[in-house]
């Protein structure tokens, strides 16, 4: 049977009726978004892989609880984020070497080195945000969820979504401003002839 033409609801119904292949299709369909979410939350590829596996194994037990009030992807993101949050709570606090752990995203010929550097800087700055702020900016600006969907995933009020997003973006804008200020200062140091510097 061609499961790939079925929507999430149909796949889940078939799985619950005993067609296990339907669940495999569900995993295939959502594994990369969930891995991406886990990676952006924990910052390490290997941990994100383990978490992704744990999330889908957990989903096996919990999928029958999805009633369809929210979109399946919204519900799954909530399950995944809660799992990632639990994981971070258990993990000993330590510094995440973001630049080292970010997997290669392949050549990016359209973007210059400076753009790449800025992007990596922002990725690192995101990892410095508290998880609630990191999650909201990821869900909105990266994954493209609506405010209402984010409220549902994070189980918070709409107003809280707006305020967290505003603070997270402001924080990153501040970091970006600092980076540019530092770069400008470096350039001036290099470009300015020595005798003109104080």
């Amino acid at each position: 049977m061609a499961y790939d033409v079925l929507n999430d609801r149909e796949l889940i119904d078939k799985y619950l009726a005993g067609e296990t292949a339907a669940f495999s299709e569900l995993v295939k369909r959502h594994q990369n978004p969930i891995y991406s979410l886990a990676f952006r939350v924990v910052g390490r590829a290997e941990e994100a892989e383990d978490l992704t596996q744990e999330i889908f194994i957990r989903l096996l037990d919990k999928v029958s609880m999805w009633r369809g009030e929210a979109k399946f992807s919204t519900w799954l993101y909530r399950l995944a984020l809660n799992h990632c949050r639990d994981h971070l709570r258990r993990r000993r606090p330590e510094t995440v070497e973001v630049n080292e752990s970010l997997p290669s995203t392949g050549p990016d010929p359209a973007k210059g080195a400076e753009t790449r550097e800025v992007r990596q800087f922002i990725e690192a700055a995101m990892m410095e945000l508290p998880i609630d702020f990191r999650a909201v900016i990821y869900l909105r600006d990266y994954a493209g969820f609506s405010y209402n969907e984010i409220a549902s995933i994070l189980e918070i009020e709409l107003g809280t979504v707006k305020s967290r997003l505003a603070r997270a973006r402001s924080s990153l804008a501040g970091a970006l401003g600092a980076l540019r200020g530092a770069s400008r200062s470096d350039r001036e140091q290099i470009d300015t002839p020595g005798h003109l510097r104080g």
């Binding site: 990369n32 891995y35 194994i57 990266y142 505003a166």
Partner: protein
């Protein structure tokens, strides 16, 4: 509106989620305030940069591991059940096949792991102790035809081991019953009801264990297929000198006593 109020609305303005009245107020302010206009530009840049972060995808190998783990769980031996019928993870270990041989091989291996100075390195990359051949032989006997032969069609993955360790830590469950109906760790009532939530054992603790101030207490064990081979899956407590439970751990140990995986 003042700049402070406008700045608070800019993020929502970018997403076109403001009321019409607020949006008009923001636009009016931006026409006259260069600083707020610059703040809006900076926020837009951040939004663009984050949206432009290339997607990360699972490696092929990782996707295959995920698929294998799901397939294993979906196999007839692990056919889907309704949530309320699902056996709690930790009860996998409350099998009658629990035995002293498993305890010998597994605890010996784990004790070596816990006392290893390179504890934090990948356990798979570490050379581990092989248990005495007598233990292997007994384990083999038990496997092949002993009355304690277990149901071994199920397999278990690293992720499941991690989940199991998590469940043990979160639930702090009562001790599984043994064959004679007695709890195996009957002194658990004296245990700390709030076990350490961290599942990692640091080098300092390993040293304490090595000095004999802590002990490992087996909760239960079972044989499952782990990464293509038969392995003991053992759940155990790490206790301090006062016999208080410090943490729960779960490990996969080969039948010859080599540690294959320790939950992280």
């Amino acid at each position: 509106m003042k700049c402070k109020n406008i700045r608070e609305l800019l993020s929502t303005y970018i997403d076109d989620e403001l009321s019409q009245a607020d949006a008009r107020a923001v636009e009016k302010h931006l026409r006259d305030c260069a600083a707020c206009a610059e703040a809006l530009t900076n926020l837009n840049q951040v939004v663009d940069i984050v949206a432009d972060i290339p997607p990360v995808t699972m490696s092929e190998a990782s996707a295959q591991r995920l698929e294998a783990a799901i397939e294993a769980r979906l196999s007839p031996a692990n056919k889907p059940m309704k949530t309320e019928e699902k056996t709690p993870w930790w009860k996998w270990f409350a099998t009658p096949a629990f035995g002293a041989i498993a305890a010998s091989a597994a605890v010996l291996a784990i004790a070596v792991v816990l006392t290893s100075p390179s504890l934090k390195t990948n356990v798979q990359q570490r050379e581990m102790l092989s248990a005495p051949s007598a233990v292997e032989e007994k384990a083999a006997e038990t496997e092949m035809g002993g009355t304690e032969r277990m149901e071994r069609s199920a397999s278990i993955t690293r992720a499941e081991i991690n989940l199991l360790a998590e469940e043990l830590s979160n639930q702090n469950p009562p001790a599984p019953k043994s064959d004679d109906g007695k709890t195996k760790n009957s002194d658990k009532t004296q245990a700390d009801p709030e076990p350490d939530q961290s599942n990692q054992i640091g080098a300092d603790e390993a040293a304490t264990i090595a000095a004999g101030k802590k002990q490992i207490k087996l909760i239960s064990s079972t044989i499952n297929t782990f990464e293509g081979q038969e392995a003991w899956i053992v759940a155990f407590e790490v206790r301090d000198a006062g016999n208080k439970i410090r943490r729960f751990q779960v490990a996969a140990v080969s039948l010859s006593g080599r540690l294959l995986y320790l939950a992280n």
